[in-house]
């Protein structure tokens, strides 16, 4: 009996010491539970209707929508990378008057409501818009077309990439670049061999975040290009017309959601593993 009492006393003392951590954990568990319960419930409910899931997986309309989401997000991320990484490098290294204004502008897409972003984009890219009109002359359609989806995705997700890349570049000591140049490497070569590899961890985080954000985009894409349907838009349509489960022959919101999440999770986990390996 005294042995047990001693042990209990030790545990009690430990809990007292770790009080703040315990409170933090308890509060945090709510959020963890939030995610687990909602997503878990969806998978669980779908598990009760496996044939429905399989039908959705074979449905060409569903597959097309998922493919559009993934590929458009990829294109948007690629564009964000090509234009954003140089911008991030410039912002990381150079100080100039108006720098904070530029950095704030980069973050604007993060703070405006997505539907508003969509309206703003539509105003420019519509048939009679400042950029939309000349493009239409050349035969390029933006609204209600794949390019429109890419542009909407690009607008709302590139700040993630730029911010992450900028922080990554900031963590690379300029002295390393100086030494590399003193050894004969041009600025470009130094960037490729020294700066970029050392910032890669942050940059790749930014890329993954950017791509994830792009796939998730709904409101902005809805305004500028509700067609061809991206996965989120298809899910919304099916939800409003056929509910969670759907009707025979028509996949409902839930099976399509489960499919989309599963594919995305697999890709993200793969990317994270590749990132870890590279370290």
């Amino acid at each position: 009996m005294p042995v047990h009492e001693g042990q209990i006393k030790k545990v009690k003392e430990k809990l007292k010491r770790e009080k703040l951590f315990l409170i933090s954990l308890s509060l945090g568990l709510f959020l963890i539970a939030f995610i687990c319960i909602t997503l878990g419930n969806m998978f669980y409910k779908q598990a009760e209707d496996l044939p429905g899931l399989i039908d959705a997986a074979k449905d060409p309309v569903v597959l097309a929508a998922i493919w559009i989401s993934i590929s458009a997000a990829l294109v948007a991320t690629l564009i964000a990378f090509l234009f954003g990484v140089p911008l991030a490098y410039f912002l990381a290294r150079k100080d100039f008057w108006g720098k904070s204004i530029i950095e704030s502008i980069v973050d604007v897409p993060l703070v405006i409501p997505h539907v508003v972003a969509g309206i703003a984009l539509y105003g420019v890219f519509m048939h009679s818009g400042v950029i939309g009109a000349p493009l239409e002359q050349v035969g390029i359609a933006i609204t209600d077309a794949f390019p429109g989806i890419v542009i909407a995705m690009l607008f709302v997700s590139f700040p993630f990439l730029v911010d992450a890349a900028r922080e990554g570049f900031k963590e690379v000591d300029p002295r390393l670049e100086n030494v590399a140049r003193s050894l004969g490497a041009s600025h470009w070569r130094t960037f490729i061999k020294i700066t970029f590899p050392l910032a890669f961890s942050s940059i790749s985080s930014g890329v993954i975040l950017c791509w994830a954000r792009a796939i998730s985009e709904f409101a902005a894409v809805m305004i500028i290009a509700s067609f061809p349907r991206s996965a989120p838009i298809l899910i919304y349509e099916r939800f409003t017309s056929y509910g969670l489960g759907g009707s025979p022959g028509i996949a409902g919101a839930r099976p399509i959601s489960v499919l989309l999440i599963s594919i995305c999770l697999v890709i993200f986990i793969l990317l994270r593993v590749i990132r870890k390996r590279r370290r």
Partner: protein, 357 residues
């Protein structure tokens, strides 16, 4: 326009630069080929900025930098063939020691020559056993050697060193000082070494430039800098503890008699015959004796010991006549020095340096 001298490895002409809280003001320097040149100054003097401007990491606001008869002022750093070593070594953390050293070589010639050269250099610096290690697993001394190896691999004409020994413990510092000396003597590379450490300067330099507040204050051999500082500020910085104001009263055979605020006049080797002067005497040049006996010292000043500070192997003795002497523990014990004791401070005329002021 004058083309600078052939023998000069580097010339800096009227260089000005402002950057953040640092400034370079009217820098003029000439550095000889194969010289070990030390830029000595307190922290904040702008020494690193000067070095980085020479290397081309920054460009001057005005003025020129010439290297081996070429005006490199606006030349990109990769074209200057100058090795650079930072105080924190700045080794590439994602490369092994080998890959670090090879970096400059890979940009130029074929792989076989590179490998051979790299092995030679690693042997020469005794770091071959570290070839496949990553920088973050190395000690400070080892990192420094890798930094040196990396810089000399490309056969630079000049090696710039920014406080290379500052972050090392005493023993490693002594050891690496000798390695740096070897780089200069065995490879013939012109060294420009920046430091605030006077011992380093004294021991390594062929010539020293004293730099304060962005300006070059004096250039000379170590002897000239430490024994004949040109003004009070420099004297104070290089450790001249006795700075007196006086007036020259007489001059006989190149020895000036100077009246100072003490009971007797001071004799200094000088060409001044009259006028106001500042007198500098290094504390270690003052010998304290109990009784006046035979001494070749021209100057003998009686006084009482006011204060003694223990500085490890040496003792700093302050006298009531304001003279400060630096003596060994042995001397201290031999004479039985203690506060309040009357002693004679003796020093030669050659130990006294007088400048106008």
């Amino acid at each position: 326009m004058d083309v600078p001298d052939v023998a000069k490895m580097m010339e800096i002409i009227n260089l000005y630069k402002d950057w953040k809280e640092f400034s370079l003001v009217n820098i003029n320097l000439e550095i000889e080929k194969g010289e070990y040149f030390v830029i000595l100054g307190p922290t904040g003097a702008g020494k690193t900025l000067l070095l980085e401007t020479i290397a081309g990491f920054y460009f001057p606001d005005s003025g020129e930098v010439w290297i081996e008869r070429h005006d490199v002022t606006n030349l990109a750093p990769e074209k200057r063939r100058i090795g650079f070593i930072y105080q924190d070594y700045s080794l590439f953390p994602h490369f092994t020691v080998e890959e670090n050293i090879e970096f400059g070589l890979k940009l130029r010639k074929s792989t076989d020559t590179n490998r051979k050269r790299m092995k030679e250099i690693m042997n020469w610096l005794s770091i071959s056993h570290l070839a496949h290690r990553y920088p973050n697993t190395l000690s400070g001394g080892e990192q420094q050697k890798v930094a040196i190896a990396r810089a000399i691999a490309i056969e630079p004409s000049i090696l710039l060193l920014d406080e290379p020994l500052a972050a090392l413990d005493l023993r490693t510092r002594d050891y690496l000082r000798e390695e740096l000396r070897r780089v200069k003597s065995e490879l013939g590379i012109t060294m420009v070494h920046v430091t605030h450490d006077q011992t380093e300067a004294m021991v390594l330099a062929d010539r020293i430039a004293v730099m304060m507040r962005g300006r070059i204050m004096q250039v000379g051999t170590p002897f000239e800098i430490f024994n004949k500082p040109q003004n009070e500020e420099i004297a104070d910085f290089v450790g001249v503890e006795n700075i007196l104001s006086g007036v020259v009263r007489n001059n006989e055979n190149g020895v000036a008699e100077i009246e100072v605020d003490m009971e007797c006049n001071i004799f200094a080797v000088s060409n001044y015959h009259a006028g106001k002067v500042k007198v500098f005497i290094r504390p270690e040049d003052i010998i304290l004796v109990e009784k006046m006996g035979k001494s070749s010292a021209r100057n003998v000043v009686k006084g009482k010991i006011e204060e003694m500070s223990d500085m490890g192997p040496l003792t700093r003795v302050k006298m009531d006549n304001s003279l400060v002497a630096l003596i060994t523990k042995q001397s201290r014990e031999n004479i039985g020095l203690r506060e309040g004791k009357e002693v004679y401070a003796t020093f030669k005329a050659t130990s006294v340096h007088a400048v106008r002021g």
